[in-house]
Subunit: 212 residues, 2 copies
Protein backbone atom coordinates (compact mmCIF):
# COMPACT_ATOMS: atom_id res chain seq x y z
CA UNK A 1 0.00 0.00 0.00
CA UNK A 2 1.06 3.61 -0.45
CA UNK A 3 1.60 6.02 2.41
CA UNK A 4 -1.91 7.48 2.00
CA UNK A 5 -3.54 4.10 2.56
CA UNK A 6 -1.20 3.35 5.47
CA UNK A 7 -2.38 6.62 7.01
CA UNK A 8 -6.03 5.81 6.38
CA UNK A 9 -5.84 2.30 7.82
CA UNK A 10 -3.82 3.31 10.90
CA UNK A 11 -5.49 6.63 11.60
CA UNK A 12 -2.05 8.27 11.77
CA UNK A 13 -1.65 11.44 9.60
CA UNK A 14 0.85 11.26 6.69
CA UNK A 15 3.23 13.95 8.14
CA UNK A 16 3.41 11.97 11.41
CA UNK A 17 4.22 8.77 9.50
CA UNK A 18 7.00 10.63 7.65
CA UNK A 19 8.34 11.88 10.98
CA UNK A 20 8.41 8.31 12.39
CA UNK A 21 10.25 7.15 9.21
CA UNK A 22 12.90 9.88 9.69
CA UNK A 23 13.26 8.97 13.37
CA UNK A 24 13.74 5.31 12.51
CA UNK A 25 10.63 4.14 14.41
CA UNK A 26 9.18 2.73 11.21
CA UNK A 27 11.34 0.85 8.66
CA UNK A 28 11.48 2.42 5.18
CA UNK A 29 9.09 1.11 2.55
CA UNK A 30 10.20 -0.56 -0.70
CA UNK A 31 10.79 2.11 -3.35
CA UNK A 32 8.61 1.53 -6.42
CA UNK A 33 9.75 4.77 -8.07
CA UNK A 34 12.17 7.50 -6.91
CA UNK A 35 9.32 9.30 -5.10
CA UNK A 36 7.06 6.46 -4.12
CA UNK A 37 7.38 3.72 -1.52
CA UNK A 38 5.31 0.64 -0.87
CA UNK A 39 4.30 -0.46 2.64
CA UNK A 40 2.90 -3.78 3.84
CA UNK A 41 0.95 -5.26 6.78
CA UNK A 42 4.09 -5.35 8.90
CA UNK A 43 4.46 -1.59 8.58
CA UNK A 44 0.84 -1.22 9.64
CA UNK A 45 1.37 -3.36 12.75
CA UNK A 46 4.55 -1.49 13.66
CA UNK A 47 2.78 1.84 13.18
CA UNK A 48 -0.03 0.75 15.51
CA UNK A 49 2.53 -0.26 18.13
CA UNK A 50 4.39 3.06 17.84
CA UNK A 51 1.14 4.96 18.17
CA UNK A 52 0.11 2.94 21.25
CA UNK A 53 3.48 3.61 22.90
CA UNK A 54 3.34 7.36 22.17
CA UNK A 55 -0.38 8.18 22.43
CA UNK A 56 -1.50 5.74 25.10
CA UNK A 57 1.82 5.19 26.90
CA UNK A 58 3.02 8.81 26.69
CA UNK A 59 6.56 7.65 25.88
CA UNK A 60 9.17 9.90 24.26
CA UNK A 61 10.56 9.13 20.80
CA UNK A 62 13.86 8.02 22.40
CA UNK A 63 12.09 5.61 24.79
CA UNK A 64 9.99 4.21 21.94
CA UNK A 65 13.23 3.54 20.06
CA UNK A 66 14.57 1.61 23.10
CA UNK A 67 11.34 -0.38 23.45
CA UNK A 68 11.38 -1.32 19.76
CA UNK A 69 14.99 -2.45 20.20
CA UNK A 70 13.83 -4.91 22.86
CA UNK A 71 10.86 -6.06 20.76
CA UNK A 72 13.16 -6.69 17.79
CA UNK A 73 15.92 -8.33 19.81
CA UNK A 74 16.57 -12.02 19.21
CA UNK A 75 15.85 -13.00 22.80
CA UNK A 76 13.87 -16.22 22.48
CA UNK A 77 11.50 -15.34 25.29
CA UNK A 78 8.30 -13.39 24.61
CA UNK A 79 7.78 -13.34 28.38
CA UNK A 80 11.03 -11.42 28.78
CA UNK A 81 10.17 -8.97 26.01
CA UNK A 82 6.79 -8.26 27.59
CA UNK A 83 8.50 -7.70 30.95
CA UNK A 84 10.93 -5.18 29.46
CA UNK A 85 8.13 -3.25 27.73
CA UNK A 86 6.09 -3.35 30.94
CA UNK A 87 9.04 -1.73 32.75
CA UNK A 88 9.38 0.98 30.08
CA UNK A 89 5.73 2.00 30.36
CA UNK A 90 5.77 2.04 34.18
CA UNK A 91 6.92 5.44 35.38
CA UNK A 92 8.63 5.16 38.76
CA UNK A 93 7.69 8.61 40.14
CA UNK A 94 10.18 10.81 41.95
CA UNK A 95 8.83 10.99 45.51
CA UNK A 96 11.15 9.96 48.29
CA UNK A 97 10.46 6.51 49.70
CA UNK A 98 9.71 5.75 53.35
CA UNK A 99 12.14 2.97 54.43
CA UNK A 100 9.25 1.26 56.26
CA UNK A 101 7.24 1.28 53.02
CA UNK A 102 10.19 -0.31 51.22
CA UNK A 103 10.23 -2.97 53.94
CA UNK A 104 6.46 -3.55 53.43
CA UNK A 105 7.12 -4.23 49.76
CA UNK A 106 10.15 -6.46 50.37
CA UNK A 107 8.20 -8.56 52.87
CA UNK A 108 5.34 -8.89 50.39
CA UNK A 109 7.73 -10.07 47.68
CA UNK A 110 9.33 -12.51 50.14
CA UNK A 111 5.87 -13.96 50.95
CA UNK A 112 5.30 -14.38 47.21
CA UNK A 113 8.70 -16.00 46.64
CA UNK A 114 9.59 -13.10 44.34
CA UNK A 115 12.25 -11.42 46.46
CA UNK A 116 15.10 -12.08 44.08
CA UNK A 117 13.59 -10.50 40.98
CA UNK A 118 12.46 -7.18 42.38
CA UNK A 119 14.86 -4.51 43.55
CA UNK A 120 13.36 -1.19 44.59
CA UNK A 121 16.35 0.77 43.29
CA UNK A 122 16.37 -0.89 39.87
CA UNK A 123 12.82 -1.92 39.15
CA UNK A 124 10.15 0.61 38.14
CA UNK A 125 7.24 -1.60 39.18
CA UNK A 126 8.70 -2.14 42.66
CA UNK A 127 9.41 1.56 43.00
CA UNK A 128 5.81 2.35 42.00
CA UNK A 129 4.51 0.03 44.70
CA UNK A 130 6.86 1.44 47.35
CA UNK A 131 5.70 4.98 46.41
CA UNK A 132 2.07 4.02 46.96
CA UNK A 133 2.88 2.40 50.33
CA UNK A 134 4.82 5.57 51.26
CA UNK A 135 1.70 7.64 50.50
CA UNK A 136 -0.42 5.32 52.69
CA UNK A 137 2.02 5.58 55.60
CA UNK A 138 2.22 9.37 55.24
CA UNK A 139 -1.49 9.61 56.11
CA UNK A 140 -1.17 7.20 59.04
CA UNK A 141 -2.22 3.97 57.29
CA UNK A 142 0.63 1.78 58.52
CA UNK A 143 -1.05 -1.56 57.86
CA UNK A 144 -2.09 -0.98 54.26
CA UNK A 145 0.35 -3.69 53.16
CA UNK A 146 -2.08 -6.31 54.55
CA UNK A 147 -4.10 -5.64 51.39
CA UNK A 148 -1.29 -6.60 49.02
CA UNK A 149 -1.90 -10.37 49.12
CA UNK A 150 -5.67 -10.27 48.44
CA UNK A 151 -4.98 -7.63 45.76
CA UNK A 152 -2.57 -9.99 44.02
CA UNK A 153 -5.12 -12.82 44.26
CA UNK A 154 -7.82 -10.75 42.52
CA UNK A 155 -5.36 -9.33 40.00
CA UNK A 156 -4.27 -12.78 38.90
CA UNK A 157 -7.82 -13.44 37.67
CA UNK A 158 -7.58 -10.16 35.79
CA UNK A 159 -4.10 -10.96 34.45
CA UNK A 160 -5.36 -14.27 33.03
CA UNK A 161 -8.07 -12.42 31.10
CA UNK A 162 -5.47 -9.87 29.93
CA UNK A 163 -3.08 -12.57 28.75
CA UNK A 164 -5.87 -14.31 26.85
CA UNK A 165 -6.77 -10.98 25.26
CA UNK A 166 -3.24 -10.32 24.01
CA UNK A 167 -1.95 -13.83 23.33
CA UNK A 168 -4.35 -14.54 20.47
CA UNK A 169 -2.70 -11.87 18.28
CA UNK A 170 -0.54 -13.13 15.42
CA UNK A 171 2.74 -11.20 15.43
CA UNK A 172 5.04 -10.07 18.24
CA UNK A 173 4.29 -6.44 17.34
CA UNK A 174 0.56 -7.03 17.71
CA UNK A 175 1.03 -8.87 21.03
CA UNK A 176 3.19 -6.06 22.42
CA UNK A 177 0.77 -3.42 21.12
CA UNK A 178 -2.17 -5.18 22.79
CA UNK A 179 -0.17 -5.42 26.02
CA UNK A 180 0.60 -1.69 26.04
CA UNK A 181 -3.03 -0.77 25.36
CA UNK A 182 -4.33 -3.44 27.73
CA UNK A 183 -2.01 -2.35 30.53
CA UNK A 184 -2.49 1.40 30.30
CA UNK A 185 -6.12 1.72 29.21
CA UNK A 186 -6.79 -1.33 31.39
CA UNK A 187 -5.56 0.66 34.43
CA UNK A 188 -8.29 3.27 33.82
CA UNK A 189 -10.93 0.59 33.21
CA UNK A 190 -9.92 -1.18 36.41
CA UNK A 191 -10.23 2.04 38.40
CA UNK A 192 -13.81 2.53 37.23
CA UNK A 193 -14.91 -1.11 37.56
CA UNK A 194 -13.35 -1.23 41.05
CA UNK A 195 -15.89 1.39 42.14
CA UNK A 196 -18.73 -0.78 40.83
CA UNK A 197 -17.26 -3.78 42.68
CA UNK A 198 -17.13 -1.70 45.86
CA UNK A 199 -20.78 -0.76 45.46
CA UNK A 200 -21.84 -4.37 44.85
CA UNK A 201 -19.84 -5.76 47.77
CA UNK A 202 -20.81 -2.93 50.13
CA UNK A 203 -24.50 -3.56 49.38
CA UNK A 204 -23.87 -7.23 50.17
CA UNK A 205 -21.77 -6.70 53.33
CA UNK A 206 -23.00 -3.44 54.85
CA UNK A 207 -26.48 -3.60 53.33
CA UNK A 208 -28.40 -0.94 51.45
CA UNK A 209 -30.43 0.36 54.38
CA UNK A 210 -34.11 1.17 54.42
CA UNK A 211 -34.05 4.09 51.99
CA UNK A 212 -31.92 2.40 49.36
Amino acid sequence: MRVGELSKRSGVPVPTIKYYLREGLLPAGVLTSPNQAHYDEEHLRRLRLVRALIDVGGLSIATVRDVLGVVDSRSPSLHKKLGAVQEAISQPGSAELDPLAVKDVQEFFARQGEDECYDVTKNNVTHMLASAMTAARSVGHDHFSELLDPYLEGLKIIARADLEYIASRGSTDAVVEAMVVGTLIGDAVLKAVRRLAHAQVSREVIGGGSDD
Copy 2:
Protein backbone atom coordinates in the same frame (compact mmCIF):
# COMPACT_ATOMS: atom_id res chain seq x y z
CA MET B 1 -6.51 18.60 73.88
CA ARG B 2 -5.31 22.00 72.74
CA VAL B 3 -4.74 22.97 69.12
CA GLY B 4 -1.00 22.23 69.40
CA GLU B 5 -1.62 18.64 70.40
CA LEU B 6 -4.32 18.26 67.72
CA SER B 7 -1.70 19.40 65.22
CA LYS B 8 0.91 17.01 66.57
CA ARG B 9 -1.38 13.99 66.59
CA SER B 10 -2.84 14.65 63.14
CA GLY B 11 0.32 15.87 61.43
CA VAL B 12 -1.61 18.94 60.19
CA PRO B 13 0.09 22.32 60.90
CA VAL B 14 -1.71 24.72 63.28
CA PRO B 15 -2.33 27.46 60.63
CA THR B 16 -3.97 24.84 58.39
CA ILE B 17 -6.19 23.69 61.27
CA LYS B 18 -7.23 27.32 61.86
CA TYR B 19 -8.03 27.69 58.17
CA TYR B 20 -10.24 24.57 58.26
CA LEU B 21 -12.00 25.97 61.36
CA ARG B 22 -12.72 29.27 59.53
CA GLU B 23 -13.97 27.38 56.47
CA GLY B 24 -16.30 25.28 58.64
CA LEU B 25 -14.63 21.96 57.74
CA LEU B 26 -13.86 21.35 61.40
CA PRO B 27 -16.36 22.17 64.19
CA ALA B 28 -15.20 24.75 66.72
CA GLY B 29 -13.65 23.48 69.95
CA VAL B 30 -15.10 24.15 73.38
CA LEU B 31 -13.79 27.47 74.71
CA THR B 32 -11.96 27.04 78.03
CA SER B 33 -10.89 30.70 78.13
CA PRO B 34 -11.47 33.59 75.69
CA ASN B 35 -8.35 32.61 73.71
CA GLN B 36 -8.19 28.87 74.22
CA ALA B 37 -10.30 26.04 72.86
CA HIS B 38 -10.40 22.37 73.74
CA TYR B 39 -10.62 19.63 71.07
CA ASP B 40 -11.47 15.95 71.44
CA GLU B 41 -11.04 12.64 69.58
CA GLU B 42 -13.93 13.51 67.29
CA HIS B 43 -12.07 16.58 66.07
CA LEU B 44 -9.03 14.43 65.42
CA ARG B 45 -11.03 11.94 63.32
CA ARG B 46 -12.70 14.72 61.38
CA LEU B 47 -9.33 16.37 60.75
CA ARG B 48 -7.91 13.10 59.41
CA LEU B 49 -10.89 12.75 57.09
CA VAL B 50 -10.53 16.34 55.81
CA ARG B 51 -6.83 15.80 55.19
CA ALA B 52 -7.48 12.54 53.29
CA LEU B 53 -10.08 14.27 51.09
CA ILE B 54 -7.79 17.22 50.33
CA ASP B 55 -4.31 15.65 50.24
CA VAL B 56 -5.08 12.20 48.87
CA GLY B 57 -8.33 12.95 47.03
CA GLY B 58 -7.27 16.34 45.67
CA LEU B 59 -10.72 17.79 46.42
CA SER B 60 -11.43 21.52 46.69
CA ILE B 61 -12.59 23.08 49.97
CA ALA B 62 -16.09 23.47 48.51
CA THR B 63 -16.27 19.81 47.50
CA VAL B 64 -14.98 18.72 50.91
CA ARG B 65 -17.79 20.75 52.47
CA ASP B 66 -20.34 18.90 50.28
CA VAL B 67 -18.84 15.51 51.14
CA LEU B 68 -18.95 16.28 54.86
CA GLY B 69 -22.59 17.29 54.43
CA VAL B 70 -23.33 13.80 53.11
CA VAL B 71 -21.27 12.12 55.88
CA ASP B 72 -23.17 14.11 58.52
CA SER B 73 -26.60 13.65 56.96
CA ARG B 74 -29.12 11.54 58.85
CA SER B 75 -29.50 9.01 56.06
CA PRO B 76 -29.61 5.67 57.87
CA SER B 77 -27.51 3.89 55.25
CA LEU B 78 -23.72 3.82 55.52
CA HIS B 79 -23.72 2.08 52.12
CA LYS B 80 -25.38 5.15 50.61
CA LYS B 81 -22.96 7.55 52.27
CA LEU B 82 -19.98 5.59 51.01
CA GLY B 83 -21.47 5.63 47.49
CA ALA B 84 -21.89 9.40 47.58
CA VAL B 85 -18.30 9.95 48.76
CA GLN B 86 -17.08 7.48 46.11
CA GLU B 87 -18.82 9.61 43.46
CA ALA B 88 -17.27 12.83 44.80
CA ILE B 89 -13.73 11.44 44.62
CA SER B 90 -14.21 10.00 41.10
CA GLN B 91 -13.41 12.67 38.55
CA PRO B 92 -15.40 12.12 35.36
CA GLY B 93 -12.88 13.62 32.89
CA SER B 94 -13.93 15.91 30.07
CA ALA B 95 -13.16 13.89 26.92
CA GLU B 96 -16.00 13.36 24.48
CA LEU B 97 -17.51 9.88 24.63
CA ASP B 98 -17.78 7.49 21.69
CA PRO B 99 -21.46 6.38 21.47
CA LEU B 100 -20.27 2.81 20.83
CA ALA B 101 -18.20 2.96 24.03
CA VAL B 102 -21.29 4.14 25.92
CA LYS B 103 -23.15 1.16 24.46
CA ASP B 104 -20.31 -1.17 25.62
CA VAL B 105 -20.77 0.11 29.16
CA GLN B 106 -24.56 -0.07 29.08
CA GLU B 107 -24.45 -3.66 27.85
CA PHE B 108 -21.99 -4.54 30.61
CA PHE B 109 -24.27 -3.03 33.25
CA ALA B 110 -27.24 -4.87 31.75
CA ARG B 111 -25.32 -8.19 31.98
CA GLN B 112 -24.61 -7.36 35.64
CA GLY B 113 -28.24 -6.44 36.37
CA GLU B 114 -27.05 -2.92 37.24
CA ASP B 115 -28.57 -1.03 34.32
CA GLU B 116 -30.98 1.00 36.41
CA CYS B 117 -28.45 2.52 38.79
CA TYR B 118 -25.85 3.79 36.36
CA ASP B 119 -26.51 6.65 33.97
CA VAL B 120 -23.55 7.82 31.91
CA THR B 121 -24.76 11.44 31.96
CA LYS B 122 -25.27 11.56 35.72
CA ASN B 123 -22.83 9.10 37.23
CA ASN B 124 -19.09 9.86 37.51
CA VAL B 125 -18.06 6.21 37.77
CA THR B 126 -20.00 5.28 34.63
CA HIS B 127 -18.56 8.27 32.79
CA MET B 128 -15.03 7.24 33.85
CA LEU B 129 -15.60 3.76 32.45
CA ALA B 130 -17.08 5.07 29.18
CA SER B 131 -14.04 7.39 28.81
CA ALA B 132 -11.66 4.45 29.12
CA MET B 133 -13.66 2.41 26.58
CA THR B 134 -13.59 5.46 24.26
CA ALA B 135 -9.78 5.52 24.54
CA ALA B 136 -9.62 1.80 23.71
CA ARG B 137 -11.85 2.21 20.65
CA SER B 138 -9.85 5.24 19.47
CA VAL B 139 -6.78 3.01 19.04
CA GLY B 140 -8.74 0.28 17.29
CA HIS B 141 -9.48 -1.99 20.26
CA ASP B 142 -13.19 -2.50 19.64
CA HIS B 143 -13.59 -5.63 21.75
CA PHE B 144 -11.97 -4.38 24.93
CA SER B 145 -15.32 -4.58 26.69
CA GLU B 146 -14.96 -8.39 26.75
CA LEU B 147 -12.54 -7.81 29.62
CA LEU B 148 -15.09 -6.03 31.82
CA ASP B 149 -16.70 -9.16 33.24
CA PRO B 150 -13.45 -10.92 34.31
CA TYR B 151 -12.21 -7.57 35.64
CA LEU B 152 -15.29 -7.28 37.86
CA GLU B 153 -14.82 -10.86 39.05
CA GLY B 154 -11.22 -10.17 40.17
CA LEU B 155 -12.15 -6.78 41.60
CA LYS B 156 -14.83 -8.28 43.82
CA ILE B 157 -12.12 -10.27 45.64
CA ILE B 158 -10.25 -6.99 46.06
CA ALA B 159 -13.39 -5.12 47.16
CA ARG B 160 -14.02 -7.70 49.88
CA ALA B 161 -10.53 -7.10 51.28
CA ASP B 162 -11.10 -3.33 51.02
CA LEU B 163 -14.42 -3.51 52.86
CA GLU B 164 -12.88 -5.61 55.60
CA TYR B 165 -10.07 -3.06 55.89
CA ILE B 166 -12.46 -0.12 56.31
CA ALA B 167 -15.39 -1.71 58.14
CA SER B 168 -13.47 -2.45 61.34
CA ARG B 169 -13.06 1.27 62.11
CA GLY B 170 -15.18 2.65 64.91
CA SER B 171 -16.82 5.88 63.76
CA THR B 172 -18.42 6.90 60.46
CA ASP B 173 -15.68 9.51 59.95
CA ALA B 174 -12.98 6.87 60.33
CA VAL B 175 -14.79 4.48 57.95
CA VAL B 176 -15.17 7.20 55.32
CA GLU B 177 -11.55 8.29 55.79
CA ALA B 178 -10.32 4.72 55.31
CA MET B 179 -12.49 4.40 52.20
CA VAL B 180 -11.05 7.56 50.65
CA VAL B 181 -7.46 6.48 51.37
CA GLY B 182 -8.18 2.86 50.38
CA THR B 183 -9.83 3.87 47.13
CA LEU B 184 -7.31 6.45 45.94
CA ILE B 185 -4.01 5.08 47.24
CA GLY B 186 -5.43 1.62 46.52
CA ASP B 187 -5.72 2.59 42.83
CA ALA B 188 -1.96 3.22 42.72
CA VAL B 189 -1.19 0.02 44.63
CA LEU B 190 -3.42 -1.95 42.28
CA LYS B 191 -1.61 -0.54 39.25
CA ALA B 192 1.75 -1.72 40.58
CA VAL B 193 0.59 -5.13 41.83
CA ARG B 194 -1.19 -5.71 38.51
CA ARG B 195 2.22 -5.64 36.81
CA LEU B 196 3.50 -8.29 39.19
CA ALA B 197 0.38 -10.39 38.50
CA HIS B 198 1.03 -10.03 34.76
CA ALA B 199 4.61 -11.21 35.21
CA GLN B 200 3.56 -14.23 37.30
CA VAL B 201 0.75 -15.27 34.95
CA SER B 202 2.84 -14.64 31.82
CA ARG B 203 5.61 -16.88 33.18
CA GLU B 204 2.95 -19.53 33.81
CA VAL B 205 1.12 -19.19 30.46
CA ILE B 206 3.77 -18.08 27.95
CA GLY B 207 6.75 -19.53 29.86
CA GLY B 208 10.02 -17.88 30.75
CA GLY B 209 12.06 -19.19 27.81
CA SER B 210 15.53 -20.68 27.94
CA ASP B 211 17.37 -17.54 29.01
CA ASP B 212 15.05 -16.61 31.81
